[in-house]
Amino acid sequence: MVSGARTLTGSLLQRSFWGFGSVVAVAYALLPMIWILSLSFKDKRSLTDNRFIPSSISLENYRAIADDPQFSAAIINSLGIGLISTLLAVVLAMFAAYAIVRLDFPGKRLVLLGALSIAMFPPIAIIGPLFNLWRISGLFDTWLGLIIPYMTFTLPLAIWTLSAFFRELPWELDKAARVDGATPFQTFRYVIAPLAIPGVFTSAILVFIFSWNDFLFATALTSTDDARTVPAALAFFTGSSRFEQPTGSIAAASVVVSLPIALMVLLFQRRIIAGLTSGAVKG
């Protein structure tokens, strides 16, 4: 341990370097969110005081958006559309991923490559056709009109992450369980499903974040509170009065819609990271 003292000081210096870096990184990530939070707490008079931290805390803006039917409609639309498209995408992707991982059939590379090319597909390229088709078929400004594109555009992500997760599952276990006398259904119910759930859940989170975030389809394919989702409602938010800028209300609404995702991210941080990176490292 001749070099013990040197490593210690070295590691102390290194540790404070990385520690400082961590503080900077956290500040970088949280700054705009803290800013919008503080903006949401400002009342009408202090809104233009240019202070980063509000001088007093007012819930005025939160009361305003709670009374706004536009905003509650958008939340319901976003939740409904997001959850249904997530469910559909994950179920379809589960079938495909199971087949890709467990079965041998020609064309499975093609499915993965096709999914990959759709992940890179520019949504603007199909906005015109969808707009026209939806207008003719009556899907314009409906939930289904957004569920269909969301489901499709999240399928690649879901298929890739689920295939990566399924590949790690100990499938030999099902043979062992069968030998022990379990029926195929029991094997699935008690052995495979519990192990597969974390992966399925992770891709569901990623898919939900995509639909919750989308703005392009939401503005192009909706026009009223019937199907307008949160991002579109925020961008077109007019507030209760036409004569004042609804900045405070928009800030409060932004905070409300960011909370669920922030909470999910904090709770399932490890899984989300695993899900996001599974495709990249292995693909």
Partner: protein, 290 residues
């Protein structure tokens, strides 16, 4: 297990719903967009619909608006992806090395990724706004950021970088964990400095992941829409190609010209993808993962 034919059929049957959905919602509309782009098709004048051949392409490609938007999009794409690469690498190294509040750091980094792009664009817009924002006061400047082209670009690019660097960082972090520690240790014993180890061992080994991350982010940045729409709506010559496509299709209801822009954007994406695959030799072969 099952015999070959039955297994094959089951495989196809299980993939069919997903494949069908993807084909119906992307392949069919893109063909329809191509058809529309060959027609004079304006929803405000439905009676004037007619086949015009490549005339729409001629008018888009000879208009200054398209080239301006393409230039703007390339400026935004190249600047933001370049900065993200450097920042993302730094963040990835940080997450790889630090043990200081590791979980908290990683969770914070995910916040920008999870934030709705429209919310991020609004937050930065308000921050730079002269009446409500804190940026001008903080730096003691008097700047109307969104009334000039380059300062508006600055805020747009900043928003993009803030929002998507974490994604880049996480992909690169995954790449970092693939670098064998023994190799780095051996190099250290042989007297390689930390910089040498980084540039001679870590970076080359990360190359495949790095290129995939770059390709994904480049294509993603190229379709930028939300941030520009919220912050400037394309004013001060900050329109991106997606914005002019949207304006033609949804605002002016000109499906013919709008679809021409759409098809051109699609072609640009294919060209960028091909450049990456040919130029850098990226392999996106899924066989490697099985």
């Amino acid at each position: 297990m099952t015999s070959g034919a039955a297994e094959r059929r089951l495989g196809w049957a299980l993939c069919a719903p997903a494949v069908l959905a993807m084909l119906v919602v992307t392949a069919y509309p893109i063909l329809y967009a191509f058809w529309l782009s060959l027609h004079h098709y304006d929803l405000r004048f439905p009676d004037e619909q007619a086949f015009v051949g490549l005339r729409n392409y001629a008018s888009v490609l000879s208009s200054a608006v398209w080239w301006q938007a393409l230039l703007n999009t390339l400026i935004i794409t190249i600047t933001s992806v370049a900065v993200e690469l450097v920042l993302g690498l730094a963040l990835a190294l940080l997450m790889h090395r630090t043990f200081f509040a590791r979980q908290f750091v990683r969770a914070s980094i995910l916040i920008p990724y999870g934030t709705i792009t429209v919310v991020a664009a609004l937050a930065w817009k308000f921050a730079f706004d002269p009446t409500v924002g804190f940026v001008n006061v903080l730096f003691g400047v008097d700047q109307a950021w969104f009334s000039e082209r380059w300062s508006a670009f600055f805020v747009i690019i900043l928003t993009e970088i803030w929002k998507t660097t974490p994604f880049m960082a996480l992909l690169l972090l995954a790449g970092l964990t693939l670098v064998p520690q023994e190799l780095l240790k051996a190099a250290r014993v042989d007297g390689a400095s930390s910089l040498q180890r980084f540039f001679r061992i870590t970076l080359p080994l990360m190359r495949p992941v790095l290129l995939v991350a770059l390709l994904f982010r480049t294509l993603d940045a190229f379709r930028i829409f939300d941030t520009v729409f919220v912050q400037t709506r394309g004013a001060q010559e900050t329109e991106s190609v997606s914005i002019i496509g949207y304006n033609a299709l949804i605002v002016r209801l000109n499906l013919g010209l709008g679809s021409t822009v759409s098809v051109l954007i699609f072609v640009c994406v294919i060209v960028i993808g091909a450049l990456f695959i040919k130029g850098f030799g990226i392999t996106l072969d899924p066989r490697r993962s099985t």
